[in-house]
Symmetry: C2
Subunit: 208 residues, 2 copies
DNA sequence: TAAAATATCCCCCAAAAAGGGGGATGGCTT
DNA sequence: AAGCCATCCCCCTTTTTGGGGGATATTTTA
């Protein structure tokens, strides 16, 4: 199959945009159908462009990349979007990920990585620069030195999922009073005295 | 700096293990200090091996990779661990991520990807095969067609974090009764009638 | 512009849950 | 033998919840 990957660039920096365009155009099965300096400029053309992959800058004049993402997904549900950014703060990364980008590259990514990423997302894969991967993996990592026992962790986890003590007791086939005892111990260990505080503390310290 | 990256392989498949060893040994700044068919065999040697990077298979006889991970991290806190697996189920991926691996590769990864991954994790970066990246990114992606309004989502999110209505009211500078109204509407929209159900449903449908 | 959705607030009520205190018991590990 | 762990029991008050019935002003959308 000699299917050409149709690419649209949305990047406000002229130099970078031309750089990407030149880089990607040189790839045999890539076609850069259009490139724009902002989403506001791109918007009315996207439908006609019918891109398979959109390289989308976050910081842009007017509608920024993250704001544009939902609109793009509505207009072109089948397009794969790769976020480009110089920032790599956890907050921005997670916000971008929740918006449903197929890839997230920091701008220091090498040419080879960018080309790989385009190919990956166009086939439904995921692409992440190593900075982003590190941030994401760190967010998953649990604290291995939790003061909580297995049972306590199990129970606090259920509390964090909104279960009441009676429900938890029922699910775990133990008495409500047992759950209560565990909760008491959890509160002592975390030095808190309410559900909300326990959840907050436990999440901050990655006990759950 | 001509620092050699010391690598240990723990992989029960003889062919694969030798394949990796041959592949990695050929890299100038890589040294495969040892390779083992199981964690149980590797355990007593790891301290002497002092690896920078450990390639760790998940499915193994005896202690499997995920079970071994906490022990390895305790023995060698500074070693970077790359999980190798043929499976790529979300459950396994997330479990491995919570254990604190620095990389997660599926076994269909190309030689180049493996070499890249070793280099990445040895410098504290993250490495993820595209399959894994896809799974992880999908887990973050929120449902863009949530029936909940911004305010309702905000409130449900706080409920999911264990906050009570009075606390939420206080934080948002609104009346408890207002919070109550929103909660009522949330329950109607989600067709539930308790906190726990609302959280469960909203998480399943990725509204929060 | 008119209708719908949204965000805000008010009252009634009973049932449920939470949290603080005080225990006990058997099992397992160190 | 001492500690931790998981299990269960009782006292008690306060807080929270959820179901019902509204109102009103702003904002969005059709």
């Amino acid at each position: 199959m000699n299917h050409t990957i149709r690419i649209v660039l949305i990047e406000d920096d002229d130099i970078l945009r031309m750089g990407y365009e030149s880089l990607l155009t040189d790839i045999e099965d890539f076609t850069v159908v259009n490139s724009y300096a902002s989403y506001d400029l791109a918007r009315k053309h996207l439908d006609a462009d019918q891109p398979d992959v959109i390289l989308l800058d976050i910081q842009m004049p007017g509608t920024n990349g993250l704001q544009a993402l939902p609109f793009i997904k509505k207009t072109l549900p089948n397009a794969h979007i790769i976020i480009l950014t110089v920032f790599d703060s956890p907050e921005l990364v997670f916000e971008a990920l929740t918006m449903g980008a197929g890839g997230y590259l920091t701008k220091n990514s090498s040419a080879a990585k960018i080309i790989d990423a385009v190919r990956e997302v166009s086939t439904g894969g995921g692409a992440m620069s190593t900075n982003v991967a590190r941030i994401v993996m760190h967010s998953f990592q649990k604290n291995l030195n939790s003061p909580l026992t297995k049972r306590e962790t199990e129970i606090l986890d259920r509390i964090a999922n909104g279960q009441t003590k009676p429900q938890i007791a029922n699910d775990l086939f133990i008495d409500q009073e047992t759950v209560r005892s565990h909760v008491k111990n959890i509160y002592i260990k975390l030095d808190v005295n309410s559900k909300a505080e326990a959840i907050k503390t436990a999440k901050e310290k990655r006990f759950i």
